[in-house]
Amino acid sequence: MSAREAILGKVRRALDAGGNAGRLDGVWQRLMEAPAGVIPARAQLAPQARIELFCAMARQAAATVERVAGEEAVPAAVTAYLRSRNLAARVRMGGDRRLKQMPWVDERALQVRHGPSDGSDEASVSHAAAGIAETGTLALFSGKENPTTLNFLPDHHIVVIDAADIGADLEAAMRTIRARYGKGEMPRTVNFITGPSRSGDIEQKLLLGAHGPRALHIIVVDG
């Protein structure tokens, strides 16, 4: 008997699970319907208030947040951020279509490289698929547009998000995943990111930049 059969057999006997029929229906139903449960009222707000909540919660998690009027303002915002942190004018980014169509050429001093990070990048730029106002969280999906290494290896992670993509809660983000990939399907990695990397493991003192980025900068694009 395989370990699989042994374990499932023990589980079934322990549950005294004689007939499957009734149980199977209940399980199938839950998997198909995915009921939502208790949804906090906090983020059930009108769009503007939701965006403001997102910014406030992200700041509470030690991210920095700025809002720009349109996507054409993003490259300049990135350059300004790098300068304010005394970083080299160099970023790595993925192939996200929305990032691609921004006027990076206008930032003549800024060197833009594409693809996954090998660990030598100080700063990266990603585009989030969704935002979660309840906790100030960004949702990033892996893929050509957004190499996952960009989320973790560089010291500074800059994430662009469309204000219209900021939903209320995790459940809204999950609906976004289903809409894009299909029911029950996922990209290889979904990263829900709330603030920069940190650790409290030494004397319970909270420090940023444990293994992931020490700084997370969010650019919210209105309009």
Binding site: R30, L31, A41, A61, M174, P187, D201
Partner: protein, 478 residues
């Protein structure tokens, strides 16, 4: 990991005498408790979420076989491989096979209590494979050859000086005169050292906070991002999780996630909540080539359908131990195995046997604080009491305790004799207490009087006086 739970008393004694540990435990008492309270107060729906989380887990456990097979199907469809392991040894063997197949020399590890439970690191090292812990707390204790003393803050028992000493000892190739005088410099050094390891690793091993049946995903939750670098850089990602980690849907995971971080560290959400499904897809610029999930039983199926089933709802948040007066007093190592505090007191006997772990469910005042903060509403004191019942049935208590309790119960069941005996004894005891009204020394109560005086009885017992009052009333006015 050797089980030293039978030596709990001695472990506790050593812990109480350890000034450095006592100082560290003070941080636990204030830090975690206040942070959790603040987070809970900021979310009015918290208690309702606890009920929802409990219901989800109970439903899942009642259908565990069905959810496990549904999960397995989705993992396979996404290009991953599911392995099943009944025992710790089987799980270790599967990990080794996968590592050997890929000629792995170095393995990085995200923080995983399951891998402590199955003693994976020692096994890999013995097989010639370097296993590097990447969670900062786990890394520090790995350097010291210690085991975690808390399920989410493994190095909580250490101070900065100890960490500096270990770094200087182990990172011998770094300049001697470098400054390591504050936690930030220590963190910076760990970051640099471990960054190299992430790239050197052939295989990355993580646990899983959740396994999602709807999508065949594993979810890990970290603040450092170490679990992510562990799984996206190497060619192979292995997830090891015990079978009760399954939840039905992404929504179900979201419900429980809402109570997890708040209960553990008081954060709204951990910094990195990562949902991983299968290996990299065609066209993905990064990610592992292979994704393996090892589903481990190791005693869980034996808890189903018993009075200990509720313990399978545990999401390893650590809130119980953060609030436990016994844990505060003796720290995690005193419990003698992988899982300390109240959840350890219930789980350890299930996994290593009540004969070895008997002290753990007994060393509790049943104050109930653990249950009051458990996000999954696990009735921890009740299950500790069930362990005590098992011990009583099997006669595992020390003879003097058993006979003392039987003696007391014998009298308590016979009120007339009880009153007769106490009406005789207690006025005598009161007199012996003298003017001070207390005893500094009392035979049969040595455990008490070693540390405390014993207040003396007042004299005649209440029932004695009440009976006289009754008698007087009935006699009527004279």
């Amino acid at each position: 990991m050797q089980v030293t739970s039978p030596q709990f008393r001695q472990n506790a004694h050593d812990a109480l005498a350890d000034a450095q540990l006592q100082k560290a435990m003070g941080h636990v008492r204030s830090g975690f408790i206040d942070k959790r309270r603040t987070a809970v107060e900021a979310l009015p729906e918290f208690d309702a979420l606890r009920d929802s989380a409990r219901a989800i887990k109970d439903h899942t456990l009642a259908n565990l076989d069905l959810y496990l097979t549904a999960y397995e199907e989705k993992v396979t469809a996404a290009g991953g491989t599911v392995h099943w392991a009944e025992t710790a040894a089987e799980a270790r063997g599967i990990v080794l096979d996968i590592c050997r197949m890929h000629n792995a020399g170095t393995v990085t590890k995200g923080k995983s209590m399951i891998t402590e439970e199955i003693e994976l690191n020692d096994f890999l090292e013995a097989s010639g494979i370097r296993a590097v812990e990447t969670d900062l707390g786990e890394y520090i204790i790995q350097l010291r050859g210690e085991h975690p003393s808390h399920i989410i803050a493994p190095a909580v028992h250490l101070n900065r000086e100890q960490v500096e000493a270990d770094f200087r000892r182990v990172h011998a190739d770094l300049p001697q005169e470098r400054d390591l005088s504050d936690p930030a410099s220590l963190l910076g050094e760990a970051r640099r050292v471990l960054r190299r390891k992430y790239f050197e690793a052939d295989v990355g091993i993580t646990g899983a906070n959740f396994l999602v049946a709807e999508t065949g995903s594993s979810i890990i939750v970290t603040n450092e991002g170490n679990g992510d670098l562990t799984q996206i850089l190497p060619r192979v990602h292995i997830v090891i999780a015990s079978i009760e980690k399954v939840v039905p849907t992404l929504e179900d995971a979201a419900q429980i996630l809402r109570v997890l971080a708040r209960s553990a560290t008081g954060q709204e959400m951990s910094v990195y909540t990562t949902v991983s499904t299968g290996p990299r897809r065609p066209g993905d610029p990064d990610g592992p080539d292979e994704y393996h999930v090892i589903l481990l039983d190791n005693g869980r199926s034996a808890m189903l359908g018993t009075e200990f089933q509720d313990m399978l709802r545990c999401i390893r948040c650590g809130a119980c131990m953060n609030h436990c007066p016994v844990y505060h007093a003796v720290g995690g190592h005193a419990y003698g195995w992988v899982y300390p505090g109240p959840m350890g007191a219930v789980l350890t006997p299930s996994l290593v046997g009540i004969d070895k772990a008997g002290h753990l469910p007994n060393a509790s005042t049943f104050c109930g604080r653990c249950e009051s903060v458990c996000p999954m509403r696990i009735p921890l004191p009740k299950m500790m009491r069930h362990w005590r019942e098992r011990e009583w049935e099997r006669g595992l208590n020390p003879a003097v305790v058993r006979s003392g309790l039987k003696f007391w119960a014998w009298f308590a069941r016979r009120p007339a004799l009880y009153h007769l005996a106490t009406w005789l004894a207690f006025p005598l005891l009161a007199a012996a207490g003298g003017r001070k009204r207390r005893f500094r020394f009392l035979p049969l109560a040595r455990g008490w009087v070693r540390y405390r005086d014993m207040p003396a009885p007042q004299g005649r017992t209440f029932m004695q006086q009440w009976r006289d009052r009754d008698t007087l009333k009935q006699a009527g006015p004279t």
